[in-house]
Structure formats: structure tokens, C-alpha cells
Symmetry: C2
Subunit: 430 residues, 2 copies
């Protein structure tokens, strides 16, 4: 029996818009948004898409009309009643009413601000300007749209069986990863793959496969819509965006030196427990920890998001010891460039020395590497970052010089202020 | 949108009965049935299921009630108008009206005769008795039902994701076989996998994948229902059943010696072209060919179905040469124990020396080897054979003593009559 109505409905493209909800985004975006809404609501920012993989000429692969259609669709979205209920009524990290009434009232009425789109040198220049709490919510939808439209452009060239076998292979590959991770009851892994997912439906499948295969070891997903739909924990804390914008707003070198701690001081006032996770690498982990105030050592853990992960974890453990803390009670979250072997290696290296957790992104939700001729579906390095705040440029250094961004002169100034010396380069694949 | 009616309909098991049509069978069964209907309609035969893989205790795996339900369902089937139209109107091997009006009138009114089912030593004893043209049509449905019920029993123990990944792996594996076969434009392969298929839906998928991936190299399927539904050629000629029953009916050693040639004499009167394919191994290929009348050398080809396939082909080529025929104009069909590497090996060995074609069975439609823990879905050796005709036992020797069947004394008598000496044993996996 063919359901004719379903078939006709399927003919309308909106059956699978790439972003289908304002909460089809990372949980930490909403947490940070609330923090920004409370602490810096009037800051004017510009976010911009940056394709670090120049060889992938997105403007040649992706039709501009389709891209605009998908971006316009996101602008038509508003929080649904069920989504609002989920955010207001849910327990996040064991805490009720994580989101305040003030924030929810504002969020319920939000529509995303306009975008600006141009083609240049085979790439799309996609920027968003406006007040920080509004503009910041474009980051994840913009990335997900570009990634998925690129995937659709490739898949559109394939035959029916090629497509079926493509997904059969990708499923087989992911399940083999799940099987490799099984039998490690102490593992704790969350899905952090929204921004570079192959597609929404694929991320949803990956999350369900992880949940079915790993049980307790799968702790949840950063994607709020999937967490809601699949009754899972929403996972996440904070990101580089906060210190980057706070730092850009600093008037003097002294204020700049203080800015990353101001971020965490604001955060400290709002959150406790598992939400007190330090992201120390924005301007170099070592210097950040050395100059950190003592109250930061009392936080729950550290997220290692650039540089060599084992080195980052050792740095954190040593720092806790220096500050008289017991590292075995502390949480280290690895979230950069992970795949199964790296996860298992880090787990066996640090289990028992600290609490270990993994935020697994691209290679969970977009491992199509080698699955098409000429590797046309391989993940690539696309980011969407705050590039200026109140007219002043932002800077990011991280623990890997290849991830540095900002005007050259400002990078040098930041390096001087934060005492960042030579750094080891690590290839950025995605 | 959920189509409620479809969901409710799905709750009734008949949505996927294992055998869903009287033409969900091998094409050669219908060809042979017509020949039997014409030449030996009153012969009374007994067919019996034989599980050569004793370690697989089917009666412990498969519920008797379910088995009876499926067998009863087959007895409820009759030829549909569309199926009859397809058989009457279609061109088979370039010939119209392959099936006579007399045969079609009879077939349209046919219901399969009763079955007899008992459990013994962990196995099912499943037998069919009655007139030959009716009973013979039980072979393929009986095998397909047992194979698929065993598969369903295994899959019923698996979780949703395990099942999804199982099929993803099987699809990936089959597609990799298809890719391996690509780029050999002279290859000619047909699906011969109905009897030991994993399931109807899986065979249907495999056939479509072969068709999509191999183009001209995929010449069709032995399954009439799939050939009809997918608009493909129905492929097949004749089988051991004919010489086995003709031989059992022989009154004297001389008649016995003549019986296999009587089969082909009847066949010769009915068919020409690609349907004139000799199956020489029932009582030993060498002796059969040496004693064959000259008109048989004029036939189109030989099917090699037991023993070492290269040896069988060499024997055929030498025989044609001895009889003054040009082997390069003759067709050799390999149909025993094939998988991709063997196919490619035989193709490169015999291409140019004769016309080569492959009837690919079990490893096309049931290669689930190694895909479950303890290999619970590995194909096994199940057959359904004529064991007696008019009360006299049948005998099969073939070119592999492990495939021999019949009472010990009769086997010895047949070996003497047909001059079969020592034979090389080849393991029978399926």
C-alpha cells in the first residue's frame, strides 16, 4: 500500500531541510548564549565562515540558490512549544531550570538575524552581523548546512545502488568502531559531531548506534534536538568564542591578560559541577594555567581541544598537583581530532590518573573517508568564528599554530601578552 | 505521516510469506515440469528434504508451527493471471510460447500436493508424495522456506542495530563482489541462488545489485518471479532430477544404461538453442560422454555441476574435439560452488577456448558467512531430491562421491553399469 499523501509530501523539499529546528544545535551554544544574554547582550559581533581546506571549492560544488534556500529556512524557524518545554522542564547535568525564564522568554521570540553571502575565489563568503546572543546561534546551522549541501552535491551524482552501498559501508564502519569500543566499561563518550556531520539523519543514526552499542559508555549528545527526540543527555559546556570576544573587547594589555579569566568568573557565578570545565587553550594552555587564579583549580575539569592531547592532559594533571588538587578527582575531556584508536590509547594512558571523557566529533558523524571515488565525501576543515566584536578583531592562538586566527599584528600582540613561545604544529584535517 | 492501514497490515505475517508465488521458483523447474507433464505425467515420486550439514539441527532452530504455516501457505497459492500472462506471452531464450497451452491450462489449476512432516534426531523429515509434475514443484519452495526460517530464527535473537548492520555488511560484501567482477566485459553470469537464498527480499536485492553493477554481464535470474518483477531474463535448462527418475524407472541394466540419454532425447524433441545444455555428471561425466550418441555433441553446451570445475570443462572440450565439434562455439556453464575468485579464475582459464557462462548460487544470495557470532547464518548444504519413482529408489553419483545418494547396493550397481571408478572427493559446503 502506497501512502499517496506521504509520497506527495515527499516531493516538497522541506521534508528534509538540513536544519529543522533552532535547537538542532550544540548544547553549549545555548549555555553560552544565556551567559552572553546575561553578561554582554549589547556586544556587536561579526561571525564568518572559514574554509581551511582551500582545495575544496565550495562555491563550485554548491548551488547558491540551494544554499540561500537552506539559510532562509533557518531564518524562518522559531522555538516550538515542545522544544521550549524540553528546555524549561528538563534536568541538565542533574540541575533543573538551567535556563532562566528571562532567557527562555527571549529565546522563544527569537528569529535568526540576516546573513550576508558572496562568492569569491571559488569559496562562499558567509557572514553574520548583529548582537552577540543572536548572531552566535548561526555558527552551527551555517556549518551543518554547508557540510550537508556539499554531501548532497556529491550524492546527487551517484546511482541508486551506489548510494545504498555508500550508506551500508558507512554504517558498517561506524558499527565496527562501536564494537571496538565495547568491553571498556570505564569509557565515557559523547557525540560532539553536529557541526561537521554528514547530515542530520546520519548524525541521528550514529547517535542511536552509539546508544544501542555502548550503553553506559555513551553519555549523550551535544545536539539538543537529537537529545530531545532520543531521550538522551544534552552534553556541552563552553567554547573559545567567549574568551575570544571578551579579549577583543579589552582596552589595554592588562585587561586583555585578564579577559579569559573574566569569562570563567562570569561562568563560575552561573554554573557548578560538570559545567565548570576549563577550556584553557585559546591563548596557550601552559601560560593560561600558570597565571590562573586558585579558584579555577577547584573546577571540575579541563577540556583538551588542540595540540597533542596527551601533552595537554599531562599539563593539566601537573597543574592540579601544583595547586594541591587530586587529579584522580578531576575530569579531562578530550575533544580534538579523535577517532577510535586515539580514544582507546588516551583512555588506557589516563584511566586511573584522572577521570577521562571524550567528545567525539567529525570521525563519529562524518567518516565517509575513502568511501567514494576521489574521496569526494572526506570531511574537511570548516569553521564559523567570531571575527570581530564591537569593531575590534578577535584572535585565537590555541596550542597549534595552524589553528591560529586573527590579524598578524594582533596575533603577535596576543602572543606577547600571553607569553606564548614556539608551538608544535599539528596538521588540521578537520 | 504514518500510514495506519499499512502499519496494521504489517502486523499480519502474510506481508512477507517466504514463498509468495508459484513462480517464485527456478525457471528450469517449470521447463522440466512441462517435459514431465508431457512425457511421464503418471509417474509417482517421493521427494525428500536432506540436510547434509548434520551439525545444524533444524528442528531445534525452527518452530514446527511456523514451518507448517509457511508450507500451508504455499499450498494455498495458485498461478495469478499476471503470472500466467507472463509465462504465456513472454519470450524465453528468444522463443515465444515456450510453454504449451496444455501445460498452462494444467498449471493454472494446480495447487501443490500435501506434505508429510516429522521431527527426528533434531532434523525435520519433510517428504512429498504424488504425481511427478506436481510433487517436483515442491523442491524449491521447501528449500527456500527452510533456509529463510533458519535465518529468521537467528535474526530474531538480534537487536535492531545489529540487524541493520548485518544487512549493511552483507550489502557491502556483495557490492564489493560486483565491483570485482566489473571490467570483464566478456563475463556472463546468471543468478542461480533461489534454493539457498537468505530470503526472498535479499535475493531480490542481490539480483538488482548485479543488474545495476554488471550491465550486459548479468544475463538474468533463474527465479521466475524476480525475472518477471524486474523485467529480466529467466535462466535455466534441466537438472539431475530427470535422469535420476528415468533411471529409477529402468527395468534392466541395459535400460538403466540408456536412461540418461532417453532424458536428453525427450528434451531434444522439445527444445533447441540455449536450452540444449547437457548435464553430464549424474552418473559420472567421463563415462556419460564416452558413451553418448553423436547427436548430443551437436548440443549447445555442457553444465559443470560437480567435481573440479576446470577438469569438467577440459573433459567437455576434449569430448567436443573428439566428436569433430569446435569447442569455441560451445557453451560451458559452471554452476557448482562458485564465488567471485573462482569465477574470475575460470573465466580467464577458459575464455577463448569455449564460450563461458556462470550460474552463481549460494555465495551470491546467501553469503552471510562470518557476519554473526558463531557464524549462525553461514550457508549450509540442504537439498530436496526425488528419492523414489514408482516405488523404486533413485540414485545419484555425480563427479564427487560426497554428493552420491541412494541405497548402498544401488549405488554399487549404478557404478558398475555406468563404469564409474575412483572419484576425487570434494568437500560439499552447500
Amino acid at each position: 500500500m502506497v501512502d499517496i499523501a506521504t509520497r506527495v509530501w515527499n516531493h516538497k523539499w522541506k521534508i528534509d531541510p538540513i536544519v529543522r529546528s533552532l535547537i538542532d544545535t550544540d548544547f553549549y551554544k545555548l549555555l553560552m548564549c544565556q551567559s552572553v544574554f546575561r553578561n554582554r547582550p549589547d556586544t556587536q559581533v561579526t561571525f564568518s565562515l572559514i574554509n581551511r581546506t582551500k582545495t575544496i571549492r565550495l562555491a563550485e560544488l554548491i548551488d547558491e540558490g540551494e544554499l540561500r534556500e537552506q539559510l532562509d529556512h533557518v531564518r524562518s524557524l522559531s522555538l516550538s512549544r515542545g522544544e521550549s518545554t524540553w528546555m524549561r522542564g528538563n534536568t541538565f547535568y542533574g540541575k533543573r531550570q538551567m535556563f532562566t525564564s528571562e532567557f527562555m522568554d527571549w529565546f522563544e521570540n527569537l528569529r535568526l538575524p540576516p546573513y550576508h553571502l558572496e562568492k569569491r575565489d571559488g569559496q562562499y563568503e558567509l557572514t553574520f552581523e548583529g548582537s552577540w546572543p543572536e548572531v552566535m546561534l548561526w555558527e552551527i546551522p551555517a556549518l551543518a548546512i554547508l557540510m550537508e549541501l556539499r554531501g548532497r552535491a556529491v550524492v546527487n551524482q551517484m546511482g541508486r545502488f551506489e548510494i545504498q552501498v555508500l550508506y551500508a559501508r558507512a554504517m558498517t564502519r561506524l558499527w565496527e568502531k562501536v564494537e571496538k569500543l565495547q568491553g571498556n566499561p570505564d569509557l565515557r563518550i559523547a557525540d560532539f559531531g553536529t557541526r561537521r556531520r554528514h547530515s542530520f539523519l546520519w548524525q541521528d543514526w550514529c547517535v542511536q548506534a552509539m546508544n544501542a552499542g555502548l550503553g553506559e559508555s555513551f553519555v549523550g549528545t551535544s545536539n539538543c534536538l537529537i537529545a530531545k527526540n532520543r531521550d538522551l543527555e544534552a552534553i556541552g559546556t563552553n567554547a573559545h568564542e567567549l574568551p575570544m570576544v571578551y579579549s577583543a573587547l579589552a582596552e589595554t594589555d592588562d585587561e586583555l591578560r585578564q579577559a579569559p579569566y573574566d569569562v570563567l568568573s562570569d561562568w563560575h557565578a552561573e554554573h557548578d559541577g560538570n559545567l565548570r570545565i576549563i577550556l584553557p587553550d585559546t591563548y596557550g594552555t601552559k601560560g593560561f594555567l600558570d597565571a590562573a587564579p586558585d579558584w579555577l583549580a577547584g573546577w571540575t575539569g579541563i577540556r583538551v581541544d588542540s595540540g597533542d592531547p596527551a601533552t595537554g592532559a599531562e599539563t593539566a594533571i601537573n597543574w592540579w598537583k601544583e595547586r594541591g588538587e587530586d587529579p584522580t578527582q578531576k575530569l579531562v575531556i578530550f575533544s580534538d581530532g579523535l577517532d577510535v584508536d586515539k580514544i582507546l590509547e588516551l583512555q588506557s594512558q589516563f584511566a586511573g590518573r584522572c577521570r577521562v571523557s571524550f567528545g567525539w566529533g567529525t570521525m563519529l558523524t562524518n567518516d565517509f573517508k575513502g568511501l567514494t571515488h576521489n574521496d569526494t565525501l572526506a570531511p574537511f576543515s570548516l569553521v564559523c568564528k567570531a571575527i570581530s566584536a564591537d569593531g575590534k578583531p578577535t584572535v585565537k592562538l590555541s596550542d597549534n599554530p595552524r589553528k591560529a586566527m586573527g590579524p598578524e599584528a594582533e596575533i603577535e600582540r596576543y602572543k606577547r601578552v600571553f607569553g606564548v613561545g614556539d608551538q608544535a604544529e599539528v596538521e588540521v584535517v578537520f
